[in-house]
């Protein structure tokens, strides 16, 4: 009897644990799971689940979340392909539109050419204005003054925006020609001008050393050695002038890289598009 009672209780537990009476794969349950994944930041799997049910549930929230998920994953062109499926009547359409502009800005890196604008509320207008202002950073000349440019941004964003504005319109480029001329006058000074202090000092020391050795050997009538040192010194001298020009060019390439990278990072970090929809509450 003592054995029968535990067995009597255990059998139903095993039977129920494998029960198929609960269907995990209904669209509603898949959506719940996908919502959970989305809130956990697992966008790839969330999109996979949303795409399973999107045929069964005509849901504009899902469409927007898939679009947002792709954008968060860095698949901007894939995200922008979905703007077509966004319903113009949907409450999410302005957000889809803003997101597509953001994606386009990251992808294409060019100024917006007065896009056709859907009906925005005040916060969406603000987001659009900021995106539009950021797109101006890709124009060749500043469209508005720096002070006007700042007005649309929050105070905590202004230092980053100021840096980006300066890097774009007043970039601290170094002149390759000047770097070459400086190194021709004082070996290594062109490198120092391009920010390469260690290389500049090394170039100065090496060139001076060979110049001294050449001079000293000519002075002591060791002509062969003197000419060898002269040749080596001349190559180090000319190589340094060449290298100074190259260093200034690399410095300028770094400025461009920092601008593009900084702007992309700024766009990714500023989430202007979901202030009123907290999907994960």
């Amino acid at each position: 009897m003592r054995k029968i009672i535990p067995i009597f209780f255990l059998i139903p537990i095993f039977a129920l644990s494998q029960s198929t009476s609960f269907d995990f794969h209904t669209p509603e349950n898949v959506k719940k799971f996908a919502d959970h994944l989305f809130c956990e930041g697992d966008y790839l799997r969330a999109i996979e689940q949303y795409e399973l049910i999107n045929q069964n549930l005509d849901n504009d929230t899902i469409e927007f979340k898939v679009m947002l998920g792709y954008s968060e994953l860095g698949l901007y062109s894939k995200s922008n392909e979905l703007i077509e499926s966004c319903n113009y009547e949907s409450v999410f359409y302005p957000d889809c539109y803003l997101l597509s502009l953001k994606n386009e800005l990251i992808l294409e890196k060019h100024e917006f050419e007065y896009p056709s604008i859907p009906s925005f509320d005040s916060s969406q207008w603000k987001s659009f204005g900021r995106l539009f202002a950021i797109s101006m950073l890709y124009s060749d000349e500043p469209v508005v003054s720096k002070e006007e440019f700042f007005l649309i941004f929050e105070k905590d964003e202004q230092s980053a925006v100021s840096l980006l504005y300066d890097y774009r319109f007043e970039p601290p480029y170094k002149s390759p020609a000047l770097a070459g001329i400086l190194s021709a006058i004082i070996p290594g000074s062109g490198k120092m001008y391009a920010g390469e202090w260690g290389d500049g000092i090394t170039a100065l020391v090496v060139t001076s050393l060979f110049a001294f050795l050449a001079y000293d050997n000519f002075h002591a009538d060791h002509t062969t050695r003197a000419w060898i040192f002269t040749g080596l010194g001349a190559f180090f001298y000319a190589g340094n002038i060449y290298g100074s020009v190259a260093s200034a060019q690399i410095f300028n390439a770094r400025i461009d890289f920092e601008f593009n990278n900084g702007l992309e990072l700024f766009l990714k970090q500023q989430n202007y598009f979901l202030p009123q929809y907290d999907f994960c509450e």
């Binding site: 090394t202 190589g239 290298g243 390439a253």
Partner: protein
């Protein structure tokens, strides 16, 4: 008389002791090499040159590799190494420009404070410094930040 229970226990114990030392290889001293691998075996000594400048740099480089570098070991902190840099520069530009690029590289190599926050690195830890950045063609410069790790050499 031994009971069936004891017999089974003895059999299990015996079989476990029989098997524990059968894999002799497992207990043998491992042949592990602590030698630092150098890239000399990968070096291409062929004189496959398209012009006199390339042929001259290839001859100089081959001589340097054979007489000095292969004996001295893999000491250049850069990738491509300074000799490979000269060869690639001669391929990309001309003998004169390649010489200037080489002397500039050599000066940078002599800088004792190089690299700490300057060059990206290849996965093996060497400084990555390709000749494409020094051809004076702004469009060919591919700037990589210091923290960047380049996958292949």
């Amino acid at each position: 008389m031994i009971s069936l229970k004891s017999l089974l226990s003895i059999l299990i114990l015996l079989s476990s002791t029989m098997h524990c030392q059968t894999e002799i290889l497992k207990w043998r001293k491992a042949d592990f090499s602590y030698e630092k691998q150098i890239h000399s075996s990968k070096r291409d000594y062929s004189f496959d040159s398209e012009n006199a400048g390339e042929f001259l740099t290839k001859s100089l480089t081959n001589a340097y590799w054979f007489i000095i570098s292969d004996v001295d070991g893999d000491n250049c902190p850069f990738r491509p190494t300074c000799s490979a840099f000269l060869l690639q520069s001669a391929k990309e530009t001309n003998i004169f420009q390649a010489s200037l690029m080489f002397f500039d590289r050599f000066t940078r190599d002599m800088n004792i404070a190089k690299g700490h926050d300057h060059y990206p690195r290849v996965s093996a830890g060497y400084y990555y410094d390709p000749p494409q950045n020094y051809t004076l063609n702004q469009g060919r410069i591919k700037y990589l930040p210091t923290a960047f790790i380049v996958d292949d050499e």
